[in-house]
């Protein structure tokens, strides 16, 4: 009997351990908790939400055997489009937001066309989309940035939810939705089949082109949503936002259980991965000199998690 390790469980365990570790580490006797308090947790959720929303898309793309280098650029472009339409063209927010989302659908469709029709390797295709999206953002802003915060007050609560809670809330809701898609629908199984063995999936009757199109378009749309949320919550539409986020997003998905060879992934795990890095970054700001070690520790953390996961799956055989 072979143990089937559910991808994502090790990530959940690591998140809990990490949180407990930093709670203990940063506790000062006689002083209130600077780390393990509600406000800080809310901050972590808000910060991680942007990565987490995009990591959902990355988890699905990697599950289908592909990769996406564009999310950071798409986040920036979506924030720029939304910001430009809202502040310069005077569109109402209710129209500017869908326009920002549309850029994500468009960039995802471009990536899908390059991968499915032109048969480019996903690395190259999304590298191209990344360059085009980032370039478009810079062209539109010409180096300026859009300030949405004058119209969207920081303390406002659209739909009754405080503004700063939107990233975390959206992340959780979307994680639930896409986890259901991946585990309880035929489409989810098709994604994993394409990632596990594309040739066999094709011979079995799976429409591989459609499956790939779905994951890339969804990935683009989710990244754009993260960009729109970033613009509205942080109040800025800038072309250099989210620079380098794509690697953290991929790392979050991998830590959450996605296998880069395709066929294994977890949407919930990817979100937990984003939270792991969010907790890490947050804790480092509270350690003197910690932010300088940020990228170093992150790199080591990714390697540790992946190696542990590999060892655990090997033992289970």
């Amino acid at each position: 009997m072979r143990l089937r390790l559910v991808p994502g469980w090790s990530a959940a365990a690591i998140l809990l351990l990490e949180f407990a570790l930093f709670t203990a580490l940063l506790a000062r006797p006689g002083q209130p908790q600077t780390f393990a308090n509600l406000d800080n947790v809310a901050l972590i959720l808000k910060y991680s939400g942007i990565y987490g929303i995009a990591a959902i898309g990355a988890a699905m793309i990697i599950g289908a055997g592909g990769i996406d280098l564009a999310p950071g650029a798409v986040i920036a472009l979506a924030s720029v489009i939304t910001g430009h339409l809202f502040t310069v063209e005077g569109w109402p927010l209710a129209a500017a937001i869908p326009a920002g989302l549309a850029t994500g659908f468009l960039s995802g469709a471009c990536a899908a066309a390059l991968v499915v029709l032109a048969r480019l390797p996903p690395f190259i295709a999304t590298l191209g989309v990344m360059g085009i999206a980032r370039g478009a953002a810079f062209l539109i802003t010409e180096g300026r940035f859009y300030d949405l915060s004058r119209w969207v007050a920081a303390g406002s609560a659209p739909l009754g939810v405080p503004l700063s809670a939107w990233p975390g809330l959206l992340m959780i809701v979307l994680a639930a939705v896409f986890q259901a898609v991946m585990t309880a629908t035929a489409l989810g199984r098709h994604v994993l089949a394409v990632g596990g063995n594309e040739t066999a999936a094709r011979f079995a009757g799976v429409r591989v082109g459609r499956v790939k199109t779905f994951v890339y378009v969804a990935g683009g749309a989710l990244a754009a949503l993260a960009g729109v949320v970033l613009a509205v919550v942080q109040g800025q539409g800038k072309a250099d936002l989210a620079s380098g986020y794509e690697l953290d997003i991929i790392a979050a998905a991998v830590v959450g259980g996605a296998s880069l060879s395709g066929g294994r992934t977890s949407v919930v795990g990817a979100v937990i991965g984003a939270l792991i890095f969010g907790v890490l970054r947050n804790a480092l700001t509270q350690i003197p000199g910690g932010t300088f070690a940020d990228r170093l520790i992150l790199g080591v953390a990714v390697l540790l998690v992946v190696v542990m996961d590999r060892l655990a799956t090997r033992e289970a055989r």
Binding site: M1, R2, R4, T183, A184, T185, A186, L187, G188, R189, H190, L192, A193, G195, G196, N197, T199, A200, A201, R202, F203, A204, G205, V206, S259, G262, G263, R264
Partner: protein, 482 residues
């Protein structure tokens, strides 16, 4: 003098749940040709791989005489397409000048000599992708034999060679043996083996069943040892089936196949014979709609369902469990895992798949059971037209019999079946008619009752005349029926 060059003692090899070899003792001595025979899945290739030292997961001993060089020519290796023949022949053992530069001229000349010695007329500068499958195999042989190895391991060397090329190979093998090398020769062509070998070992289901001196041996005895029972030669199908035409191919061209016309009726099993590279898989994939047709039409009473060859590459998704592979694509847009589990258990029982359960991992299944799973996936659709590509490749004898029985049951229930196989014995036993593809065209359609392995082999290699007009008319008549 009689010390073995390469030997195996109590060798066992397991892949997951499959026991490929079980306690096998084997050796080859200087100057002898030791043949290994057995059915598909008996463990012959695994034995060679272990003797070559390329098998990591073995228990038991594999040894070679000190300083002995061993050359291994595996069955169907993929060669780097853009390399030229001379470069491949000398890969790893390049001739170098004093400063370390490659001596291209010397290598080219030596490569040419090695190629001629095995009867290959390709130029040493020819790129491997431009050669035929037969020539590529000869390049492999040249690479192995050029260095004058002490032991040579050959795995089905004549599978892709024509008659003349095979004769040259035999001469080269005998010459090598005379010079003191030991040759291990794996083949399922028993008549070849009897003429060439000094000793013959029979493997069955991973075990060594017998080792005889080749002199004076009876082929029927070998067959009995390989199969464990007498082959019923009278149990042939054949003759005309009267059902409706379910599948009609008219002048179909797909891949490098062209001009194939064939009609298959309900309840009929049409075998598809041909050498590696003759186009059988391309044709079946075209009929199933997985490849675009270049010309011709395919009319089918119902969408043809294909059970592809090479189940590792084209059949199974290793990251999904048994049930998920069976229900791929699943029924409906919502997954009903409970219902799937129940139906999976039904299919496991129906095809006697030996497994721990519906959630088992694919690599825990033996080759035969993996093949049954791919077959079950196709049968789930209750196909009225079923295409099978090498359905018993790498499958043990027991599972093979069960798969054959399932195919016959399907035909009896009215399914039209097309069965492509490299095993002529299998085609002769199962088919009503056998269509032979040779280099992309249909060389003839033969009634199974009138066919024999020799006749089919002749058609496959292009050495024979197409069937006589009466035979062609008789086999064509059903397809011309209104």
């Amino acid at each position: 003098m009689d010390a073995p060059l390469v030997c195996a003692t109590g060798l066992s090899v397991r892949y997951g749940a499959t026991r490929a070899l079980d306690g096998v003792d084997f050796d080859v001595r200087r100057g002898e040709v030791h043949a290994v025979v057995g059915e598909n899945g008996a463990g012959k290739s695994t034995l060679l791989r272990a003797l070559a030292g390329a098998e990591a997961h073995h228990t038991g001993g594999v040894g070679r005489a000190p300083g002995a060089s061993v050359a291994w020519v595996p069955q169907a290796a993929e060669l780097p397409a853009d390399l030229d023949a001379a470069a491949w022949i000398f890969l790893g053992a390049e001739l170098r000048g004093p400063l370390g530069w490659l001596r291209a001229g010397a290598m080219s000349a030596a490569a040419e000599e090695a190629l001629r010695a095995v009867g290959c007329h390709a130029a040493p500068s020819a790129r491997l992708c431009d050669l035929t499958a037969s020539q590529r195999h000869q390049v492999q042989l040249a690479r192995a034999m050029r260095g004058g190895p002490d032991a040579l391991l050959l795995d089905e060397p004549t599978a892709v060679l024509g008659a003349a090329e095979s004769e040259r190979l035999f001469a080269a093998v005998r010459a090598l043996a005379r010079r003191g090398a030991g040759v291990v020769y794996v083949s399922h062509r028993l008549d070849e083996v009897v003429g060439l070998a000094d000793r013959i070992t029979v493997l069955r289901d991973g075990r060594r069943v017998a080792t005889h001196a080749a002199a004076g041996i009876d082929v029927l005895d070998l067959v009995r040892a390989m199969v464990g029972r007498d082959i019923d030669r009278t149990g042939r199908r054949g003759g005309d089936r009267a059902g409706e035409v379910r599948l009609d191919l008219r002048d179909v061209a797909v891949g490098h196949v062209r001009g194939v016309s064939l009609a298959v009726r309900a309840g009929e099993i049409v075998g598809l014979a041909g050498l590696v590279g003759s186009g059988r898989s391309s044709l079946l994939e075209g009929v199933a709609g997985l490849r675009r047709l270049r010309a011709g039409t395919v009319s089918a009473a119902a969408p043809p369902v294909l059970v592809p060859e090479d189940r590792q590459r084209k059949g199974l998704v290793p990251t999904l469990c048994l049930r998920e592979n069976l229900f791929l694509p699943p029924e409906g847009w919502r997954l009903r895992v409970g219902a799937e589990r129940l139906r999976t258990v039904e299919w496991i029982e129906r095809l006697a798949i030996r497994t721990g359960g519906s959630e088992a991992a694919i690599d825990s299944l033996s080759g035969g059971n993996q093949q049954k799973l791919v077959l079950a996936r196709a049968l789930r659709h209750a196909p009225r037209v079923l295409l099978l590509d090498e359905p018993t490749a790498g499958v043990d004898v027991g599972a093979k019999a069960q798969i054959h029985a399932a195919i016959v049951r399907l035909a009896a229930a009215g399914t039209a079946v097309v069965l492509a196989s490299s095993e002529l014995a299998e085609l002769l036993v199962l088919s009503d008619r056998i269509a032979v593809l040779c280099r992309g065209t249909c060389a003839g359609v033969v009634d199974a009752r009138d066919a024999s392995e020799e006749r089919l082999a002749a058609l496959m290699t292009g050495a024979a005349e197409p069937p006589a007009p009466q035979e062609a008319a008789a086999s064509a008549a059903p397809s011309q029926a209104p």
